[in-house]
């Protein structure tokens, strides 16, 4: 290595802690980004792989309305029209213990062209045995070896499955899947279609018909189908479902970018320190004839090397962290969107390259500013600190102006960017960055006042410590910004989560009005006869019913909820923009539908508009009477009355009943009567509204665990940064502190001064974080959440969040100051003065 590079890099090697902290800042920033990217993409990929494996060679799928497809249509296609390469499927869910499994009912004879894994078995004898077993053996099912192992079931073993509220006896006759595709089949139970129909209560009905055809043949096929059936592209259908979780994963990625943004401040901080501390060296080099360009390239090259090393460490750490986050991400996706079984993180080159590129770019951008500044120095030897500080102070008005400009730009972007989530997130980052730039001027202004107070009430030494923060603004400013941004993230996200939780909680209070709710245990369809029997039970004053279904079109999926309202139920749905007294009668008559706030926002629908839905007789327009508030996980929902549903969709089943008791009825007895009325038709799940509310809030809290994890990681990055900044600052002041020691300041007093200074920095950061956090929460609630999910909510600010943030900031800075304080107090004054 040439002497010039060695001269500069040697400095970093002589200060390994500074090097390590700078590396740690980059590493954690990249790690968080890579981890979130890997976890999100792995969950999505697992879902896609699973769907692709389950779909097999199917290119298209024939789907029907909520009630599925009459199986006669399949027979007609096969026999009357001679359509080849189609296979019927009945799909549903089953439970084994706490585990949810996917039931895949297939016609083994139609499968050969569709799904290789269902028909493949070892040898002709094996295949014959499998076919014969599936068709003749009661309860015969196939599982992957892994799922069978986890359920502790061996071939030939009998085991219980709970399907549609009833316990069914299954027998494992063989394993499915081999090689790489096996993981995608985990948690799938393959069985004969007739058995699936029996277990799922879908006699004579199919979930879908898989089709292997080119687009032209698919079009031909669609002409043979009744109006309520659609031929959809299988890949698009999977994609549409996978994209339901996109807003969720986008928000996670935004959180990871926040950690990276904090990382950028810290990288800037580290590089600035490294440059400032070498001003004497750089002065000597310039004196010896090193050009500005060489200085710039030297510092940038150094940052690049640091960035590469940090990004590589970050990738390694990100893969590990991704494994941990994957559990949380897939849990949330399972809770909210679709079933996904993920066995491990999928390490894809794109995610790694994105993290590496972002880490490197962040380092270079952060380093370019101090490198550019250092290269512009006139080659006066030992560039004086006062000159640098004067320059930093002269920049303050410009910083404030640039900061205010960024904040205004952010607000402007919010106004003009419609409902773009990406623009909303960009605006959020502009706001954070802009307000961050305003902090150093604010610190100088605030510190003047504090130093005056300190001198008056705590003496000159305390004043020296506090005034030192403003006097060393070129070093303290960035550390304060980094800590303030990280702490403001905790405030912003906490307020957002609190507001969201409060809104969801009051929404649940309002929505869950029945005394208790009845459904098939583990999920399933309640037949009309069962509903009628349950409704006739003594002690019930009124009941409501709901049926949730997906309507699929080539443009996407819409959640349809059919409600039979009890008189008390109407008040449980908050209408946002119309008079309930006019809306509900029209709704009940089946003359109008009500749409969720999110659907209205997303599709720009207002009361009075017409919404076209796919119905049994074909597409039909419905008048929209109002929008209603909903925090459902599938926020784009259309409410229709049961009367309207029965008229246009061939699906008599019900998902759940809301039971309103007579005033003097005993809840326990009524529940017992309900179970008795059900008999052995199903196992009922009866939940009080309190249980249901608690369960909903548990899922809500679980969803936000990962958010909390991410913001604590951002705080972690800031802690590392503040520790680095404090160490560097005290090293910078070594001579000044040594003079104090020489003048008779004791070690304890000196340590106290250093601690006072760092704690003051923490308090300043905490104070600055409060307005920044409040603005961030407004942005998260009114812009990001609105655009991502279409939800609106009241902003709820718990004062405890604010003072906890202040304590966090001061506490973090206090802890970060302990080691520098110890170091400063242990330094030998004579040596420190000589070394300066």
């Amino acid at each position: 290595m040439p002497a010039l590079q060695r001269a500069s890099f040697g400095y970093l090697l002589r200060h390994p802690w500074q090097l390590a902290l700078a590396l740690a800042g980059i590493t954690i920033g990249v790690a968080v980004m890579v981890a979130v990217d890997l976890a999100s993409s792995s969950a999505q990929l697992a879902y896609r792989l699973s769907m692709e494996t389950l779909n097999g060679n199917a290119t298209h799928q024939v789907v029907g309305g909520p009630g599925g497809i009459d199986e006669c249509i399949y027979a007609e296609l096969r026999v009357a029209h001679g359509v080849q390469n189609i296979a019927p499927v009945v799909q549903g869910q089953a439970e084994s213990g706490d585990r949810t499994l996917e039931l895949l009912g297939i016609d083994i004879f139609a499968e050969r062209a569709m799904r290789g894994f269902t028909a493949s078995a070892s040898g002709a004898d094996g295949l014959a045995a499998r076919v014969s077993g599936l068709l003749t053996m009661p309860g015969a099912v196939l599982l992957t070896p892994r799922t069978a192992g986890e359920l502790a079931v061996e071939i030939g073993d009998r085991f219980e499955l709970r399907v549609n509220g009833r316990t069914r006896n299954a027998i494992l006759i063989d394993h499915i899947g081999s090689g790489a595709g096996t993981a995608a089949l985990d948690d799938v139970v393959v069985l004969d279609i007739a058995l699936a129909q029996e277990w799922l209560g879908m006699a004579g009905r199919l979930s879908r018909i898989d089709v292997r055809a080119d687009d032209d043949d698919a079009k031909q096929l669609s002409r043979l189908l009744p109006a309520d059936l659609e031929v959809l592209n299988a890949g698009n259908r999977t994609q549409t479902t996978a994209e339901m979780s996109r807003a969720f994963t986008t928000n996670l990625k935004a959180m990871s970018l926040l950690a990276m943004l904090v990382g950028v401040f810290l990288i800037y901080n580290s590089v600035s320190f490294a440059v400032l501390q070498r001003r004497n060296l750089l002065g000597i080099l310039r004196g010896l004839g090193v050009t500005r360009g060489q200085v710039f390239r030297l510092l940038l090259g150094e940052a690049l090397a640091l960035g590469i090393a940090g990004a590589l460490f970050g990738i390694a750490a990100g893969i590990w962290l991704g494994e941990q986050l994957l559990v949380l991400v897939s849990q949330s996706i399972n809770d909210l969107y679709f079933r996904v079984s993920v066995t491990g993180v999928d390490i894809n080159a794109l995610s790694l390259a994105r993290g590496f590129g972002a880490g490197l770019a962040a380092t270079v951008v952060a380093a370019a500013i101090p490198a550019c500044e250092a290269s512009s120095w006139r080659p006066r030897l030992a560039m004086s600190r006062s000159v640098i500080e004067r320059r930093a102070h002269s920049l303050l008005p410009w910083l404030a102006a640039a900061g205010a400009g960024c904040a205004l730009l952010s607000l402007l972007l919010v106004q003009v960017s419609g409902d773009s989530l990406a623009a909303g997130l960009t605006a959020l980052f502009f706001l954070i960055f802009g307000l961050g730039l305003c902090l150093p001027p604010a610190v100088r202004w605030l510190t003047r006042g504090c130093a005056w107070f300190a001198r008056r009430f705590a003496g000159n030494a305390a004043s020296l410590a506090i005034a030192g923060v403003a006097a060393s603004l070129s070093r303290t400013g960035v550390a304060i910004v980094a800590l303030a941004v990280a702490v403001s993230a905790t405030i912003g996200v906490s307020i957002m989560v609190d507001s969201f939780r409060t809104s969801v909680s009051s929404w649940l209070d309002q929505t869950l009005r029945s005394d208790f709710y009845v459904a098939i245990d583990g999920g399933g369809d309640m037949a009309p006869s069962l509903v009628a029997d349950l409704a006739a039970v003594d002690g019930i004053a009124a009941w409501s019913s709901s049926r949730r279904a997906w309507l699929e079109t080539p443009e996407g999926r819409t959640r349809l909820v059919a409600l039979k309202m009890a008189p008390e139920s109407f008040a449980g749905t908050t209408l946002l923009d119309a008079d309930p007294d006019t809306v509900w009668p029209a709704f009940e008559r089946g003359e109008a539908v009500v749409v969720s706030e999110a659907l209205a926002y997303r599709r720009a629908i207002r009361p009075g508009n017409t919404l076209t839905l796919q119905t049994g007789p074909g597409p039909r327009g419905f008048d929209v009477a109002a929008t209603f508030r909903s925090y459902d996980a599938n926020p784009e929902t259309v409410l229709v009355s049961r009367r309207l549903y029965d008229r246009f969709w061939d699906d008599p089943a019900v998902d759940s009943l809301g039971i309103y008791l007579e005033p003097d009825a005993d809840a326990q007895r009524v529940q017992a009567r309900l179970r008795a009325a059900t008999g052995d038709r199903a196992v009922l799940s009866v939940r009080s509204n309190r249980d249901l509310r608690q369960r909903s809030l548990e899922i809500f809290d679980r969803t936000f665990i990962i958010t909390h994890v991410l913001y604590w990681l951002a705080v972690g990055v800031a802690v590392i940064g503040i520790l680095g900044a404090m160490l560097a600052l005290q090293m910078e002041r070594a001579r000044e502190l040594a003079v104090l020691r020489a003048l008779g300041v004791t070690r304890l007093e000196l340590g106290g001064l250093v601690t006072l200074q760092t704690t003051y920095i923490g308090l300043l950061s905490g104070l600055a974080a409060i307005p920044l956090g409040l603005l961030m929460s407004w942005m998260l609630i009114d812009v990001i959440n609105r655009r991502a999910f279409g939800w609106s909510m009241e902003i709820v600010v718990d004062p405890a969040v604010l003072w906890q943030a202040l304590l966090l900031s001061a506490g973090v800075a206090f802890l970060a100051g302990i080691y520098p304080a110890w170091r400063a107090s242990r330094a030998h004054p004579a040596q420190a003065m000589r070394e300066d």
């Binding site: 040439p2 002497a3 010039l4 060695r6 001269a7 500069s8 890099f9 040697g10 400095y11 090697l13 002589r14 004497n280 060296l281 002065g283 000597i284 080099l285 310039r286 004196g287 010896l288 004839g289 090193v290 050009t291 500005r292 360009g293 006139r378 080659p379 006066r380 030897l381 030992a382 070394e835």
Partner: protein, 234 residues
């Protein structure tokens, strides 16, 4: 103006009506006021004057670190005042050696590497550079300290390394700012001897700012900076 790589045999310095001032707060301090002087090639000049009289400023102008407010600085035939900052830097790299009172060695490099750094900046590397480093260390009596780092050397040793570094690339002009200011008399005499010997060998022009009578006595001429101008010393 591009700067050629080779050392010019012409090592004269000509200062024409130089004025230089700086701002301290809102007050402007005039340091050099219409100063003119000529130094012949190979000559040794001692600059004397009270602290703050502008000796260091004058050296900074001659080496191109600073540019005057007015006037011309012509060194070895090059008009520094017409050069860009980059060209002045390259000129300094190739034609100037500088010895400072505070040594200003690069603390992260060994003694040998401090000297090699200047050679590498001038495009001299490999065996040639190593040989030159060895010769210089030998000449300043530090042949056995090449691998040491500056912070373990005494002041006199550090200054001798600084002299070796200043002369490593055989500059036409050697500037020294209080080179013995931090040293005791005996060490100062050793350092001065090293400086004088090497300078004479290389026939470099020496301009040294000093308060030391011994240093001034070793020079061909002594000039004094007074009220911003150079006058012959009393």
């Amino acid at each position: 103006m591009p700067v050629t790589a080779s050392t010019s045999p012409d090592a004269s310095v000509s200062l024409r009506h130089i004025s230089h001032s700086y701002l301290e707060g809102v007050r402007r301090h005039v340091v050099l006021d219409d100063l003119s002087a000529d130094f012949a090639s190979g000559e040794a000049i001692a600059l004397r004057g009270r602290s703050g009289s502008g000796k260091s400023t004058l050296l900074n102008l001659i080496c191109g670190i600073d540019a005057p407010d007015a006037g011309q600085v012509i060194v070895a035939g090059h008009d520094l005042t017409s050069m860009s900052e980059r060209d002045r830097t390259l000129y300094r790299r190739r034609h100037i050696g500088f010895v400072y009172q505070a040594f200003n060695l690069v603390s992260t490099l060994s003694v040998a590497d401090n000297i090699r750094l200047v050679l590498e900046l001038n495009g001299i590397g490999g065996q040639e550079a190593s040989q030159r480093v060895d010769e210089l260390l030998q000449a300043v009596g530090l042949a056995d300290r090449g691998n040491s780092f500056p912070d373990v050397l005494s002041g006199g040793e550090q200054q001798r390394v600084a002299i070796a570094r200043a002369l490593a690339h055989r500059p036409a002009i050697l500037l020294a700012d209080e080179p013995t200011g931090n040293l005791d008399d005996r060490t100062a005499a050793d350092v001065l001897s090293s400086l004088d010997t090497l300078r004479r060998e290389q026939r470099a022009t020496l301009i040294v700012a000093t308060h030391s009578n011994a240093v001034a006595a070793a020079c061909d001429r002594t000039l004094e900076l007074r009220d911003g101008r150079l006058v012959a010393a009393d």
